[in-house]
Structures are given as structure tokens and as C-alpha cells.
């Protein structure tokens, strides 16, 4: 085979692979992945990990539903939905471009568990925090029994 024919074949092969990859990515973008904390939040992302919807359950901000934990629950649900999407994307793309290439495109394990933040990150505060969470959930902080 002439060297120009070889180059031409390689270019055509590369173009075909790029089209297959673009098609696989388009198909992934149409897929939906969800994660939820029952009765609190349901998060939907597409196969590219793009956030599409956050559905909050009615009453999730009520005092007896621990609304102060809502932010952490949303963060965790978004991370979990994106992990599912990344796993599916890695699986789909690795058939085309190998596991290393797929891990590179999907960011590998780039969506780890969110780190502990805020007051709960201080171990010495955990006892106090849990104490007040329990008091809050039982309505103690809302009742103010000392008031007439």
C-alpha cells in the first residue's frame, strides 16, 4: 500500500472513531440519572453530569424535618447522581476508547463523597451538635416553654 493511502486510511479511521465518540456522548447526554433522599430531595442529572432538576419534597423546610440538614442532603444527592452518571459514561465510552481514555473524559473518580464541612467538621462539636439536632427535631427550640 502506498504511504499516502495509509495516511488516508488512518485519517478516515480516526474520523470514524470521532463520529462514534460524538454519537456515544450525545446518547449519554439524553440519559437521566437520579439520586434521592426520600421525602426530602430528588436530584436528576444527565449522562454528562449536567444538573437538570432538584425536586424538594413538600414540607422539607418544616421545623420537624431538620431543615438545617437540607443543604448537606442536597449536596450529597447531587454528588451521588453525578457518580452514577460518570460510572455509566465510563462504561459506555470505554468500549470505544478504552478504560483510560474513558476515565480521562469522565473525570475518573472526580466526584468523591463531599468533605465534612461547617460545624460538624469539628469532632469536639459533634456531641453538642447532635444534642441540639435532637432537641430541635422534637420541637424544643420552637416551643419556648418559659414564655407565657
Amino acid at each position: 500500500m502506498h504511504v499516502l493511502d495509509e495516511i488516508d486510511a488512518a485519517v478516515r479511521h480516526h474520523s470514524a472513531r470521532r463520529r462514534q465518540l460524538a454519537l456515544a456522548q450525545a446518547e449519554l447526554a439524553e440519559r437521566r440519572f437520579t439520586d434521592e433522599v426520600p421525602d426530602v430531595v430528588r436530584v436528576t442529572v444527565n449522562g454528562a453530569g449536567e444538573l437538570l432538576d432538584i425536586e424538594l419534597a413538600p414540607g422539607c423546610l418544616d421545623a420537624d424535618r431538620r431543615p438545617h440538614l437540607l443543604g448537606d442532603r442536597i449536596t450529597a444527592a447531587v454528588a451521588a447522581a453525578r457518580r452514577k452518571a460518570a460510572g455509566a459514561a465510563r462504561e459506555a465510552l470505554s468500549e470505544l476508547i478504552g478504560e483510560r481514555g474513558a476515565a480521562w473524559i469522565t473525570g475518573g473518580d472526580a466526584e468523591p463523597e463531599p468533605p465534612p464541612r461547617g460545624r460538624r467538621s469539628a469532632p469536639e462539636d459533634q456531641g453538642t451538635d447532635e444534642y441540639f439536632e435532637d432537641k430541635d427535631s422534637s420541637g424544643f427550640l420552637e416551643e419556648q416553654p418559659w414564655r407565657p
Binding site: 444538573l51 432538576d53 423546610l61 431543615p67 443543604g71 442536597i74 463531599p114
Partner: protein
């Protein structure tokens, strides 16, 4: 004496290490975006949502459906900003 190929490999390896270091440094930065005055979402420059904070007194004035939509908008806006910050930190702006 090292061959040219060995030197090229060494340079490529050091370049990769340097980029990985810059990437890790960039991921430490966090971008915040307000949620209609009732909260704040935080995204790191790798695009990860790292936190959602609410002002519980103000957030109760919003119904859950509207709050969900506002959160999605705020997270997307923070991700866009975070991507711009990442590009600057990694020196990838034109």
C-alpha cells in the same frame, strides 16, 4: 549521557507533574453563588458542588418547587464561574 528521547520523556513527565499540581491547587478554590438572598451554593473549580447553605428564616418564604428551580440556576451559574476561574488558574485563557 542521556539521549534526546530520554530528555524528552523527562520533560514530558515533569510537565505532567506540574499540570497535575496546578490542577490540584485550582481545585482548592471555591466559587459561591447566592440563591435569591436565601442561601448560598459553593462549587469548586473542578465543578463539584461542595456545599449548600440556607438562611432558614428567609428560605421559608419560598415554596419548595421555586426553591428547587433557584438552586439549579444558582449551581449552574456557580459552575460557569468556577470553570472561568479554573481556566485562569491553569493559564488556559486565550
Amino acid at each position: 549521557m542521556a539521549s534526546l528521547t530520554e530528555l524528552e520523556n523527562l520533560v514530558a513527565e515533569r510537565t505532567r507533574e506540574f499540570r497535575a499540581l496546578k490542577q490540584r491547587a485550582a481545585e482548592q478554590k471555591v466559587v459561591g453563588e447566592p440563591v435569591a438572598g436565601a442561601g448560598l451554593v459553593q462549587v469548586d473549580t473542578a465543578g463539584r458542588l461542595v456545599g449548600v447553605e440556607f438562611d432558614l428564616r428567609k428560605v421559608r418564604s419560598l415554596d419548595e418547587r421555586r426553591l428547587g428551580r433557584l438552586l439549579v440556576d444558582a449551581i449552574r451559574a456557580a459552575e460557569t464561574k468556577a470553570a472561568a476561574v479554573r481556566d485562569v488558574l491553569l493559564g488556559e485563557t486565550p
